[in-house]
């Protein structure tokens, strides 16, 4: 169902399928943990999405491309502002 929903083309018998399947299983374990923190209706929900068959390393490498640079602390508005 996941492959169909997110248009994945890898075959069930392939090496890639095995790898993706493992990442997917690990994602479902993560979801249980992440969802265990809050019960309020507005709280964030975690579950299966288009990134669920990526390992966490792959996800970081492909999608998290920002370099943090320290910024000066905001010192309040000037009198003019």
């Amino acid at each position: 169902a996941f492959r169909k929903q997110f248009h994945r083309t890898y075959e069930v018998s392939s090496e890639e399928f095995s790898r993706r399947h493992l990442s997917f299983q690990r994602a479902t374990i993560r979801h249980t943990y992440l969802n265990s923190f809050s019960t309020e209706t507005q709280s964030a929900k975690y579950g299966i999405n288009q990134f669920s068959d990526l390992s966490q390393e792959e996800f970081r490498d492909l999608y998290l491309g920002a370099v943090y640079e320290r910024a000066p602390l905001f010192s309040g508005l000037s009198v003019k502002e």
């Binding site: 309020e40 999608y63 943090y68």
Partner: protein, 214 residues
């Protein structure tokens, strides 16, 4: 400050885009802020070229990642005019910088500010209302699994790795939150948006926040 504010209500925010498998979030957030501030200034909202920033901001590494501060600094110092997305379309890979003539129309920035608003998110709300959508850097590791709702846990400050665009906030409910546009397409999160609790510098959203001026 109003209890609730959203630049989308003023038709100043372009649709959610998809960076695909390319670490170009830094370029999407910077270009998103510029096109919004351009529209707030009275121009028609138009999508500007992310690929131009990916290819030409030489101090950054294109799809291998970059810094929003460096990109804004480069835009300010070179006075590079951003052309439209249709003139320089997004390819999700780093390519050779394509130059346009000086007479070619485009949008350049005059200045920008970057501040750490940790502990001062109310002042950050003021900046959003006053200047337009804000560029911010967050820790988005747990966003791999995000489906929707207001994020209150599972991410750190000072370990930022992803650039986003803050377009509004809402303090009317039990949990006040930032309205954040991401660049992972509309199938992710709340139709491409993520909500982050205001206060406590959740995900490091207040660590490095930039406003642009045209």
């Amino acid at each position: 400050l109003p209890d609730k504010f959203d630049w989308r209500d003023k038709a100043a925010v372009a649709p959610v885009q998809d960076q695909q498998a390319c670490g170009s979030c830094w370029a999407f957030s910077v270009v998103g802020a510029i096109q919004s501030v351009h529209a707030i200034g009275g121009s028609q909202l138009e999508q500007l070229s992310v690929q131009q920033v990916v290819d030409c901001s030489y101090q950054n590494a294109g799809c291998n990642g970059g810094s929003t501060t460096r990109a804004l600094n480069w835009l300010k110092q070179t006075r590079m005019k951003l052309v439209t997305q249709s003139e320089y379309p997004y390819k999700a890979k780093t390519e050779i910088c394509h130059f346009f003539s000086q007479s070619h129309s485009g949008v350049a920035i005059k200045n920008f500010t970057t501040h750490d608003f940790s502990g001062q998110e109310k002042a950050m709300m003021g900046q959003l209302v006053q200047y337009g959508p804000l560029v911010a850097i967050v820790d988005a590791v747990s966003w791999q699994d995000y489906l929707g709702g207001i994020i209150q846990h599972h991410c750190s400050s000072q370990w930022s790795n992803h650039a986003i665009l803050i377009v509004g906030y809402d303090t009317t409910g039990d949990i006040p939150y930032w309205i954040v546009q991401n660049s992972w397409g509309t199938r992710w999160g709340n139709e491409g948006y993520v909500y982050i609790k205001i206060g406590g510098n959740i995900c490091g959203i207040a660590d490095s926040v930039a406003a642009v001026f045209l």
